[in-house]
Subunit: 236 residues, 2 copies
């Protein structure tokens, strides 16, 4: 299948590599492919430049967001939360009629904000939107012709693409969205990744809870120690 | 041990009954004991009136919030989120020097608000405070002489007091707070309830994530069906 992954960060790379491994034709989207390939320094998360990573993944193609979206039959959004609505809106025509799986967290990007608890990352998570709206809903409103599914957002993407890496895979993944066919596509992809326990949380309004879980996810991560992989299981 | 439970709702009753069963001397606090005992109708959650419940639990004493707090060596806050800061502040002297375990969720109480997705409960959860503050932190600021621990908040109180009722007890409870001794008291109580996996999320700022998890908790509850008991396990 032709799958577009929008974004070139660590999370996007986890999906790109795994999708290629599963035999899919992967089209990667970035704002400015030339600029992305020209970068030689790690990003603010310490992720090595994309050009050197891409050289080790032959067959993966780099395009603009719109060109990658045009080539994908299914699209995964890995664009930073604070850029996602604007970047995706610019590719609205190429995304029309398609399923877009969104895993972005709307972390507020504001270097001037005061943070009360210096974390290992230097900040407390702060979300915008939050509580009465979600990034997933914002994206759906901005792209009414696209079938948005919120998923993947409650874990590190390294374990989303390889759930058996923790606890033998005995943990839970969540999906939410309006279109049942689009949710089925996301569910099928998750099963191909190795997921057994996939819980449909209903309409896209459940994206609020999935995004707001970022606070708990961070707190659990701090408690277990930076770099510890973990998931959550809904125990019935 | 003398334990005060502030509140007479369904969650508070779960703690009162279990604490009495464990042999503790339980002092229940309510705003106006006479009014509480005079009520003969179920509350808005369908919980039967407290008077008839109390009659079936001999040995449990009903007091004002302040009188119950004065009698408890350890205090559990089960007052509705939107009333908690005001009600607890009125008992600040009686709570001074003590550990207060707070499990309230700051659901916004505003009958005029518009809710976009009618849930089985008629509303979407909406929180105030949220994201950059929490009810747990507000209570700690209002009661600087009290050692506030946020706990219990990520589950129904029926399963908090009886974790083995779901999944054989193989799920995770969280605690957060500034005072290590107070957190140890909460942890000891949780162990007495039957908990094996108790994760310390650090300082009280982690109360934000615990309270904001209410959105996920609601969404998971809707997905599993109203009345289904569940917990979450952190899978390492």
């Amino acid at each position: 299948m032709k799958i577009a992954v929008l974004g070139t960060g660590g999370g996007a790379r986890a999906h790109i590599a795994r999708l290629a491994e599963l035999g899919h034709e992967v089209h990667v989207g970035t704002r400015d492919p030339e600029a992305t390939l020209a970068r030689t320094d790690p990003d603010m998360m310490g992720t090595p430049p994309f050009g050197s990573w891409l050289a080790e993944h032959p067959g993966v193609e780099l395009h603009t967001f719109a060109d990658a979206a045009a080539r994908g039959e299914l699209v995964i959004n890995g664009i930073d939360g604070h850029n996602a609505v604007a970047a995706l809106s610019a590719a609205a025509d190429q995304l029309a009629g398609k399923t877009l799986i969104d895993y972005a967290v709307p972390f507020l990007y504001n270097p001037d904000i005061e943070h009360p608890w210096p974390t290992p990352w230097g900040v407390m998570p702060t979300l915008d939107p939050c509580d009465r709206d979600s990034l997933g809903e914002q994206i759906q409103r901005a792209l009414p012709r696209t079938k948005v599914v919120k998923a993947f957002v409650t874990q590190e993407q390294d374990t989303v693409v390889d759930p058996k890496a923790i606890g033998g895979g005995d943990h839970t993944m969540f999906v939410a969205g309006t279109d049942p066919g689009a949710k089925q596509q996301a569910t099928d992809l998750l099963k191909a990744y190795g997921w057994n326990d996939i819980l449909d949380l209903g309409p896209l309004v459940a994206a609020r809870g999935m995004e707001m879980y970022a606070h708990m996810h961070s707190a659990i991560g701090f408690a277990l120690g930076f770099g510890t992989h973990f998931g959550i299981k809904v125990v019935r």
